[in-house]
Symmetry: C2
Subunit: 385 residues, 2 copies
Amino acid sequence: MREVAIIGIGMTKFGELWDRSLRDLAVEAALNAIDDAGCDRLDSLWVGCMSSGLFNGQEHLGALVADYLGRTPIPACRVESACASGAMALRGAWLEVAAGQADVAMAIGVEKMTDVSGGAATYGLAAASDRDWEAFHGVTFPGLYAMIAVDHMHRYGTTREQLADVAVKNHSNGVHNEYAQFRSKVTREQVMSSTMVADPLRILDCSPITDGAAAAIVVPLGDAKSFSKQPPIKIAGLATASDSLALHQRKDMCAFAAATEAGERACKMAKLNPRDIDVVEVHDCFTIAEICVTEALGFFERGQGGKAASDGATAVDGKIPVNTSGGLKSKGHPVGATGLSQVFMLARQLRGQAGPVQVKNARRALAQNMGGTGASHVVTILEAV
Amino acid sequence: MREVAIIGIGMTKFGELWDRSLRDLAVEAALNAIDDAGCDRLDSLWVGCMSSGLFNGQEHLGALVADYLGRTPIPACRVESACASGAMALRGAWLEVAAGQADVAMAIGVEKMTDVSGGAATYGLAAASDRDWEAFHGVTFPGLYAMIAVDHMHRYGTTREQLADVAVKNHSNGVHNEYAQFRSKVTREQVMSSTMVADPLRILDCSPITDGAAAAIVVPLGDAKSFSKQPPIKIAGLATASDSLALHQRKDMCAFAAATEAGERACKMAKLNPRDIDVVEVHDCFTIAEICVTEALGFFERGQGGKAASDGATAVDGKIPVNTSGGLKSKGHPVGATGLSQVFMLARQLRGQAGPVQVKNARRALAQNMGGTGASHVVTILEAV
């Protein structure tokens, strides 16, 4: 197979974008990526979106976006793995270029979660959990992640303060992200006194409902310079793994075993290990998720993820900077777009364009995007070349 | 890239399967494919489904099916291109094996369309059309295909009798298909006096609402004999193309331009042309669709598709046998499963297992699967080796 590189990245602002539709958002991110690459050719399109059917009454996004981008009759397909749909779209584009079936492929992640019919956001998101055994009985994602948090606190002594410190760090980083939904710092006290959602998780432990899109253009690494003047960013590793949708079916609720599996496979492909990574974006849909996932990926020992957040180990100048973009917590979480927005943010780090949150000498970056309570994980390792 | 072959195929019965859920159907088809291949290894899973969100309140099918199949933590992802989702799943598995990222990949297509909330089947299907410019204003798929039929009749003199003859032929073939939803012959008179749905299309011009699933297992062609005793079926060509979702945006409503594009690309890949094909399955969601698509793929001149159906050119013993399985019309149309059920039926033809509808010396087969009114097309060319 051919090695693959990213030559263009694009995003929309994340937020409540009442004046833009699903297709508007996808096209805006795509055009920004084309502008960034300076390459107008497109052989194929992969659109990642979780639930445009439930949110917007619209499926069939591959052709829809190809059309509104003015690119029919190119191959176009949607992929969906709940909140990991964005990274799955990149995986599709990567596979197609790797297999030699396309030379210039675009991955777009998009979700339009406001301006939807009554109750649809919560009902739609619940479709990422096991409908028959979880959602039907009334449990929602804050409830599921609250169970994970309680388990982690009970087994490892993780504290309410440590959960808060994840939010404090991510909001502090997000202040510098012009694409972020919430560019405001929060204090530990504000997090801990915010509205209770599902004990112990409060509203400032939760990522928000967001509209937005992000995109990336990939080409064969060997030909990257002929397509774009941007420094190519190599996809050194990309792996996905699955677990049961239902949390109660897992042996260990806090383990995020599929994150470990996908991370190990991506590292093996990239011939690297977690110590070699300079900067990381993880899927902090809830504060507890960042703690569990940084452990599952091997950045910290089991039970030490909360301490790491409080100690500054995951800060921009820490041992392993995590979510310098502000993460889902501050940047926002348009579910199908999140995986590609992580890639966007890490590409800026590897290009040295991350401004106040730039990690010095960032050469290797890792993105972890997940669906549900971790039934789907995609880990992508990017390398400046 | 590596050449890829199918070594196993599986299906469920198609019909109103009130006793089986979405996940039951997917797993049943998958287990049948595993049985057929005699190969228990599985490296990766691609699930094609159009609208499990709207029909069943359940997204995230990749991990869901991997779990119920007992195969976590393998990579698992859902793809969606409306009614072309099944063939798109095969495309994903094919790309992954071609790129060398998996050796044994399974594609499953599934849809559960009965036992859904009130009105959901029509509302869900409309999500394959342009929600903002078509569905919102009340037009449904029978209405859209009726416009295509009227245009074809007006321009080419296609008759009401010719439309009926497509249904008569497909039901006549479907009698022999043990997986088919409707194993009953119909006469021209019965079709032409059946309930009007959208003039000129009557109920017997329309494919039904169906539950079902189909699956295929692919491996590198060079290694096929080491995985299975089944005669390998080479994927000689596989291509997809897109068009506008909205019918009114097309230059020519009857042209199905993306079918032509995908067909030409698939033929080029297979180094074949339509004359070399022995047996065909096309996406006859409505009788007029079979007429337009057999023209678009180059089997007949423009305007001659209706005449071909009436003349017997598309019969089992005709010039080019079309829909020997009974097609969507008789076999049923669980939208996400249809593309893989076409592959299943053609694989039986190439193995010489098609019974009374066996096409003599069938060596090369073509499947055309489409989404919406033709905004997505996937053309797959299979070859006995």
